[in-house]
Subunit: 355 residues, 2 copies
DNA sequence: GTAAAAAATGTGCTCGTACACATTAATATT
DNA sequence: AATATTAATGTGTACGAGCACATTTTTTAC
């Protein structure tokens, strides 16, 4: 059987050199005669040697510091999941020398972001994981990190101009497209759909625009523009009276409103409104498995949730950086997570059961 | 910082014993005074020591042989995915001493199964991964393996009476339930649904019955029995004329037939029928991302597929056995994989991108 | 031709854990 | 009290890769 695991020692013996020489060939440390080099290289090929990553990391007790620049979960609960994901990854990878330091900023305050990003940069980390909530402000940091050669991984929000080591998240456009499919599947008759952006700085939130774009283009592509009408609404703070007013008005203007698509994780705000006004003929789709969303999903007020797998995003972010720093693997520049469709009936298998 | 990793040596020093003693405490190898035992145990708690699994497996060069008893992918293409999943796992885990030997049987031939299962048993493996296609025949093997103390993991088909180390797969009942939800969501008007079992030995296929049960119970639970009618059909070999005849007949008997639920991975057979007869007012839901199914999903003849994640099943099966054999971890007796809802629009993120 | 410099190759220790073996301390037996 | 027996504890090495350092071989300089 070829089942035997090939070690450096085996190669050394077969090539009639010492393992030191094999090591030099493997890592291009020079000081090897061309003759020996070729012989060793050939044998490595033949026996298709694969280094034992386990033994490798055991040796080097280098600690890799990763700075995780993420929004405060206490301010927006959405960010709890990514945080727990990266904590999980850190726990798993501690023995490989991975150490993660969170730099937590207020997602509604640019200065807070600037401060924390600066702190993170000054800590001279070996890698950075970042949720780039503020599009404009983050760009100059990318330059700094590129100069300093600090690899950085983005998640949640895709930034086209950046050249990160990797982006982890969903294809926003496609997720809007998917939502349109689901709603038209459930509503075969002509009607009106509402795209609701809740409490967001829209011009600075490219991914939300992408979602709306995908949503609208579905109707174009499928030639359904005559059948369905799409309206949009930028809603402010749900606690204000304006919020309710805006919704009342849109319902009045569009009596055939049959579905609402919420582009972020705050579908529960709309659900609260629907429940309060005892409206049960409007379907509702949103994002993410927050407890409040799950509550309304269970009560059939929310019909579907698209799981952005935020925990997985944090988890895979750290994993990607580890693969790069520790294992020196090739990193895929974009890692799209699946667009999970969640409903009452399959919910339990997605809650706390992933990655 | 608590960032320092705790080693056995650290514990030994703090407890003023040698690392040998700590080792004996950790592994209950006896020969330790009660006094020392308690002291060490306390310090292990305090410093919350976690063994370095990396170093652990590096030491022991034991090879664990796992026998994988699975159906032949050449006979039923469904089984390609589990096979590739377990191959992927083997590759990842080779350096932990995991070696997987496939024992491949004909899923339509009991004798072939008996022969291979016997061979696998005689090879005296350290663990067994099994797709228990033949319910009755597999039971005696469970007894044998229990006597020999060979841990076995089941996947794909849940067997209630068995007490495997772990079952990996989906909750069949719930998946039927989910399908009912999707269909009623898309078909708000009263109509008839067909549950189709294609080319299966139904009495011996508990998981297919469970699917139907879940499907039917959805209507009961939601008080929709008056609105929707459910009929069932056991279809034989799709290549025979009978197959088409049966379908024709059921359509004739139920003119308001609006959806078909195929309980296994052969939805493409019905799709072929629907396409051939140019029927586009019957929705179709089935299982698994086989190339043929994907083709019809792309063409909108199949509306949804439930992904049973067969690749993941093979992968996690080997992972579970490795966790048990190599890492001595606690194993969860049931590992339900999520009920992924797949449609044209989110398909690409599930194809070859998992586990 | 010899010594010095450079190139090539070899040796040995480290990482954290597990286990075999060696050693010491505490009882039991005569 | 001396020896045998058992219990308790300590010591040392292996696993595979990586790297510093030691050693050998070849080349260069005079």
């Amino acid at each position: 059987m070829k089942n035997k695991i090939v070690r450096i020692k085996d190669i050394a013996e077969k090539a009639e050199v010492s393992k030191g020489t094999v090591d030099r060939v493997l890592h291009n440390r020079g000081r090897v005669s061309e003759e020996a080099r070729e012989r060793v290289l050939k044998i490595i090929q033949e026996m298709n040697y694969e280094p034992n990553l386990i033994a490798r990391t055991l040796k080097s007790n280098k600690v890799y510091h990763i700075a995780a620049i993420i929004p405060d979960p206490l301010i927006d609960p959405y960010w709890e999941a990514p945080k727990s994901g990266l904590e999980k990854a850190e726990k798993e990878l501690r023995h490989y020398g991975i150490s993660v330091t969170p730099f937590i900023f207020n997602p509604y305050n640019v200065d807070s972001f600037l401060k924390k990003a600066k702190e993170a940069t000054q800590s001279e980390p070996d890698g950075i994981l970042l949720a780039p909530v503020f599009y404009r402000e983050v760009l100059s940091f990318f330059d700094q990190w590129n100069v300093k050669r600090i690899p950085f991984v983005l998640f949640n929000t895709q930034i086209p101009d950046a050249a990160p080591l990797s982006y982890i998240g969903q294809d926003s456009y496609q997720s809007g497209y998917l939502v349109a499919k689901l709603l038209t599947f459930g509503l075969p008759e002509p009607c009106t759909f509402l795209v609701a952006h809740i409490n967001e700085d829209i011009p600075n939130s490219a991914h939300l625009i992408k979602k709306e774009e995908g949503f609208r283009n579905y109707f174009v592509d499928k030639k359904l523009e005559d059948k369905y009408k799409v309206v949009r609404l930028e809603l402010g703070n749900p606690d204000s009276g304006l919020f309710t007013e805006q919704l009342n008005k849109v319902r009045q203007q569009h009596p055939d409103l049959k579905a609402i698509f919420v582009t972020n994780s705050k579908a529960y705000e709309i659900a609260f409104y629907l429940e309060k006004h005892r409206i049960d003929n409007i379907k509702l789709i949103g994002y993410d498995l927050l407890p409040k969303n799950l509550y309304y999903l269970e009560n059939s007020i929310i019909n579907f949730l698209i799981n952005q797998n935020p925990k997985g995003q944090g988890y895979w972010g750290i994993q990607q950086l580890t693969d790069f720093l520790v294992f020196k693997k090739e990193i895929q520049p974009i890692k799209y997570l699946p667009l999970d469709i969640i409903t009452q009936e399959n919910l339990s298998y997605y809650v706390d059961n992933e990655a």
